[in-house]
Symmetry: C2
Subunit: 313 residues, 2 copies
């Protein structure tokens, strides 16, 4: 039977993986048996912690969504992203059935499709809403995964992207998942996600990296959440080398690394490349030794991308 591939973005974070699995379970419960949860890259340590904790399997790795040998287009549902840069290779020759997302949009399709997007902190919050609208109770596993995704995306409600619906969803899901002390679980999950000690510089800058087209400039923006920004900055020379290697390989105009202190709720920005003015103009800061402290900035989507986009006009 022809499959429906449900996938999050490249370099998947916990939301991309957990929303793909949970939405696939919802589809199955609605009788869409050919839905398959997929991923476009390696599962992070944080995500693996959540998968292990709630007994979920790693989604199917998807290399591309090119048509079958007989020309049949793949059917795809995109969760937690919609932009071409972040979708599977070959998407231009696939049929996008649905998009479930909470990011800014850059989507061009040839045909009508189903989209559920909203300005909430996490795609899994929307997936949980869809469960409720369908009158279907998520499994313990799906509830735990959706809860994990929301905690991850909102940094346990500290991110400015967090909405009352995200908080309420975690409270309800924690009961369904049998994990009522969600704060304790959430801190463990976030700490697991922020351990950088076992990572190479190239791994650090690509753990959660996304590419953006900013009015003709190609900008890579990576983000790491940590409780030890000083330890991370002590690797600055090695990080910059890894960033410049990526710039040379991919032709980026700018590589930005956002090192977010989840306790202080602010970020160091580290920028290399030929367009640092997008950072300086965007945040009204002066980079010293390629870095600056951005007070209160913790959300790439809400507090980084829009300001750099504006600066690029």
């Amino acid at each position: 039977m022809e499959k429906i591939l449900i996938t999050g973005h490249k370099i998947p974070d916990t939301d991309s993986i957990c929303s793909a699995i949970s939405y696939t379970e919802l589809k199955h419960a609605q009788g869409v048996e050919n839905a398959v949860a997929c991923r476009l890259g390696k599962v992070s340590r944080e995500t693996q912690y959540a998968l292990d904790h709630f007994g979920a399997e790693t989604p199917l790795f998807l290399d591309n969504v090119n048509p079958d040998a007989d020309g049949t287009k793949k059917k795809v549902i995109l969760v937690d992203h919609n932009e071409r840069f972040q979708t599977p290779d070959g998407i231009e020759n696939a049929k996008i059935l649905e998009v479930i997302d909470h990011h800014k949009f850059n989507l061009i399709t040839d045909e009508p499709l189903k989209i559920v997007a909203d300005t909430v902190g996490c795609t899994s919050t929307i997936v949980y809403r869809l469960y409720k609208q369908a009158g279907i109770t998520p499994s313990k596993r799906a509830a735990g995964l959706m809860m994990s995704a929301i905690i991850s995306d909102t940094l346990l409600f500290k991110s400015p992207t967090c909405t009352p619906e995200d908080v309420e969803a975690v409270k309800e899901l924690s009961k369904l998942a049998g994990e009522e002390n969600y704060e304790e679980y959430g801190m463990k999950l976030l700490i697991e996600g922020t351990t950088l000690s076992d990572k190479t510089p190239d791994e650090i800058i690509t753990m959660d990296m996304k590419e953006f087209d900013m009015n003709g400039k190609t900008v890579a923006i990576a983000q790491v959440n940590t409780v030890d920004t000083k330890g991370t900055l002590s690797m600055q020379a090695d990080l910059e080398k890894a960033m410049n290697d990526r710039i040379n390989a991919k032709g980026y105009d700018l590589f930005v690394l956002i090192i977010t202190d989840i306790v202080k709720a602010g970020s160091y920005v580290l920028a290399t490349g030929k367009s640092p003015e997008l950072v300086e103009k965007g945040f009204k800061v002066t980079l010293e030794n390629n870095t600056a402290w951005l007070e209160g900035v913790v959300s790439r989507k809400k507090q980084v991308v829009p300001f750099m986009l504006e600066a690029s006009k």
Copy 2:
């Protein structure tokens, strides 16, 4: 108080006007008192029939959504469209809060937003779904307008874009509107919309015209629904003159007029301009005297645009 402008597309059809009014009423019922129903052009004869029948006022005419004198961005909700060509002038400097739509997508935003899109026959079907999800019963007036929009967009369920949800919505809305004989009302509405006798050629080709970017070619596609295709085709020379005048004024590569016979459920296509191959390749027909009969084609969105887009690649 700052307004939230809710508007359908340029050259508004019944769905654009009725969805704007009905969704504004829903917002009011949800406590969003600053929502204002708007329109971007003249109300059609068909739409006026529905407005009069259900005692609704014509929405506010909107010339543009440029920022206020102090630079404050206008807040806009787009219904029944999402593409730049079809939105109010100045949209690039406005804040799009939401999109409610059932068309293909070509949407680029700087920030996340709420989107509810689906592959149903009419935007008002989605608006009615949102009423139900919110647990709010539409007013008699809003119910009548949403019912009218669905009948108009689906040609009383004859269009291939029509889904079971559209049919069910009309049945439920007809009761709420006190218009249980929706078939009789619907035929009156469609006949009102298809009277071309009082129209000039330029009015006929712009009644329901949309512009599309097809891989670098700018194509205008107009559609008229009629019960008298022969009478319309007897004006061919005058229609072609009006189409060529528009081509010269706007620089279109192609102007296509779809003359849909709502009884026979097919369309004559009339095409002028320098790229007629988009029609010939798209529908696998040979134009004779600039026209061809397209058996079974009644939906611009589903049966015209995708095939011409494919032919333009």
